[in-house]
């Protein structure tokens, strides 16, 4: 037990450096983490509840509280909640504030990407005694792509095309690196995991528990059977080609086509549309591609184009939910009070809208966020599972040792183990279920009518019929009136 405490102290000291806060004591992240670990789930649930009931302002207040935004020092303590807040600011049309948050988030993401070994190891030790919610939120690839995408759209809406261009270049760069990043990251994690498991085994062996060698392997194969019984089958889940988010690529193309400064910009636009129409097989991407190619070849003058693209951000992305299973830990003794583990699983959210329609043209899905999150989760899950099993064995061995010497303390340790067993279900939940798009010719009317099965009455949008317009609609559910922004270029 002394060892466990010492180890925990070490982990506390180490994880201090991993804190995203600045100037705080090294212990602050863990102390807040202890509180945070047990309430994270309920806060996420509360946030979802606010969104479900249409209380966007309360959801924003909650996100700001959790993000621990320090306006004076311009610091965000929690990346995930910062992203939730920034997305709501964007929804509310406060682009400046939204981008201020997204900028801070990008700094944190950069820190996570380049986190050094000592910090990472410290975090892992802390989490091996507790659970994954003690780790800093590590952004998924789709998170980072969306941060730059939202920033770019915010800048475009503000009319700041120079900065929008930088953000589109960043998002494009992230997309380009996504496939490499995945291959590399997964290999790295597998190696690190194997090494950690090896070290755990050695530690357990040195404590005289010879049979623990097989524990991880045996438990892993048993766990897989249990997962199959739970109906968790990820075999059908697959990523878009190259792990890209085609919505981001589509908007990238639209920006470079409509604000083209030279032929290189038009080339970028054509490449983006080609990629999206190849992946999604949609008419909106193919038609926009054809248009971009005509402009590129000089057949059509950019100034003579007079279209409106309507973009829909519909519903909510699949969310992670916790499920607990009894783990068959193959220990020599059954002298333990609690052996269980908690794992995350993806739960699809309902689609309230079932497509949109403008002037007889139906929207098409240019990016299915459920598909994207599932593909990335599928890659992560084996690592989450191995980590959870290793962790459960470490905790259970500790519990058994305490129980052997003192039954009351053992009982207490069992309760502690149960309390610290929690799945990491953090996701950027305000992201939509799908991104949809359609393109219509401007018919001289300054009002556009958007209809959907999920809308009680058609939405009426004012556009500039003399310009190209991007109408951006975010419709989460039936309790929140769809937010509409019009960007005329």
């Amino acid at each position: 037990m002394k060892k466990v405490i010492l180890c925990m102290m070490g982990a506390m000291a180490l994880s201090g450096c991993a804190s995203t806060g600045n100037g705080s004591s090294p212990f602050s992240s863990l102390t807040s983490g202890i509180g945070g670990a047990f309430k994270t789930d309920s806060d996420s649930a509360k946030f979802s509840q606010h969104i479900a009931t249409g209380n966007v302002n309360e959801a924003l207040t909650l996100a700001l509280d959790e993000a621990e935004y320090d306006a004076e020092k311009s610091l965000l303590d929690d990346q995930l909640w910062g992203m939730q807040a920034a997305a709501i600011y964007r929804m509310q049309g406060d682009y400046v504030q939204s981008n201020q948050f997204f900028d801070l988030i990008e700094d944190i993401m950069y820190g996570e990407d380049t986190e050094n070994m000592v910090e990472s190891a410290g975090e892992s030790i802390a989490s091996s005694l507790t659970n994954d919610t003690f780790l800093d939120y590590e952004q998924s690839v789709y998170d980072s792509i969306m941060v730059n995408t939202y920033k770019a759209i915010n800048f475009t809406a503000l009319g700041d095309h120079a900065n929008a261009r930088v953000e589109w270049n960043r998002s494009d760069d992230r997309q380009r690196r996504a496939a490499d990043f995945f291959a590399e990251r997964i290999n790295e994690k597998k190696d690190a995991q194997a090494k950690a498991a090896e070290e755990e085994k050695e530690k357990l062996e040195s404590e005289g528990d010879k049979s623990s060698d097989d524990n991880v392997d045996k438990s892993l194969s048993e766990a897989e059977k249990i997962l199959a019984k739970e109906g968790i089958d990820m075999s059908e889940w697959s990523a878009y080609d190259g792990y890209i988010n085609p919505f981001s690529t589509f908007m990238h193309g639209l920006f470079f086509m409509l604000t083209a400064q030279d032929s290189a910009d038009l080339g970028k636009a054509v490449d983006s549309f080609k990629r999206v129409s190849g992946i999604t097989n949609t008419a909106v991407a193919a038609n926009t591609q054809a248009l971009a190619e005509q402009v590129q070849s000089g057949d059509v003058n950019l100034n003579s184009i007079n279209k409106t693209w309507v973009i829909f951000e519909a519903g909510e992305m699949a969310k992670l939910d916790e499920f607990r299973i009894d783990l068959p830990v193959f220990l020599v003794s059954s002298n333990v009070n609690y052996v269980g583990m908690a794992l995350p699983k993806l739960v699809d959210q309902p689609d309230y809208f079932n497509g949109f329609m403008v002037n007889g043209v139906s929207s098409e899905v240019v990016a299915d966020m459920d598909k994207i999150i599932k593909a990335e989760f599928k890659e992560e899950f084996p690592l989450i599972l191995t980590r959870e099993i290793t962790r459960t064995i470490v905790k259970t061995v500790a519990q058994k040792q305490v129980n052997d010497s003192n039954a009351y303390l053992g009982f207490a340790t069992g309760i502690l183990q149960a309390a610290t067993t929690e799945a990491d279900t953090r996701t950027w939940s305000i992201l939509p279920k799908s991104f949809q798009a359609l393109m219509v010719e401007n018919d001289g009317q300054s009002t556009l009518s958007i209809d959907s099965a999920g809308l009680s009455q058609p939405l009426s949008v004012e556009i500039d019929p003399t310009k190209n317009n991007i109408v951006y609609v975010k419709a989460i559910n039936r309790n929140i009136a769809p937010r509409i922004e019009v960007i005329s270029l």
């Binding site: 010492l6 201090g16 410290g122 900065n163 270049n169």
Partner: protein, 152 residues
């Protein structure tokens, strides 16, 4: 006890070394300091290079230079097509000042052929004063006062 001491000291040392800050100011002229990616110095060097080449170009010498003839240059905006936020207007300004200081050119902010307009918008703004009732119209710039540009 010794073990306990070692076990607690190492993590604390690691924690302290991990949090150590080494931030300090570095002169933009200090060539010994190299940063990852592009820095202010790279931009200055690029602007200086462009400037030197324009000034040295024999094609940009006005045929009546000895009688005080000067070409008037309109400077395009520099498009920042990188993943970094760079104030390219500062670079344009640097080039503009360098061109004027060379004594070989005049520059204009009255016209620009790129979307965002010239980096110095005062000419455009002063034109708007032509319709302002708050200004003495005898002192505002008139539309017909600009020199016609020839495209070389």
């Amino acid at each position: 006890m010794k073990k306990l001491l070692i076990a607690t000291t190492i993590p604390v040392l690691l924690a302290m070394s991990g949090c150590q800050s080494t931030t300090k100011y570095v002169s933009t002229h200090d060539e010994d300091t190299v940063v990852m990616g592009l820095s202010q110095r790279d931009f200055e060097a690029a602007a200086n290079q462009a400037l030197d080449e324009i000034i040295a170009s024999p094609l940009l010498v006005h045929p009546e230079a000895d009688k005080g003839g000067r070409y008037i240059l309109s400077i395009y905006n520099i498009i920042n097509d990188t993943t970094q936020r760079i104030d390219t207007d500062q670079l344009v300004k640097k080039i503009r000042v360098g061109l004027l200081n060379s004594g070989k050119f005049l520059t204009t902010t009255a016209v620009s052929f790129t979307g965002a307009g010239p980096e110095d918008s005062s000419t455009a703004k002063s034109r708007e004063l032509q319709d302002s009732s708050l200004m003495n119209q005898n002192t505002t710039k008139k539309m017909d006062r600009f020199t016609r540009l020839t495209l070389a």
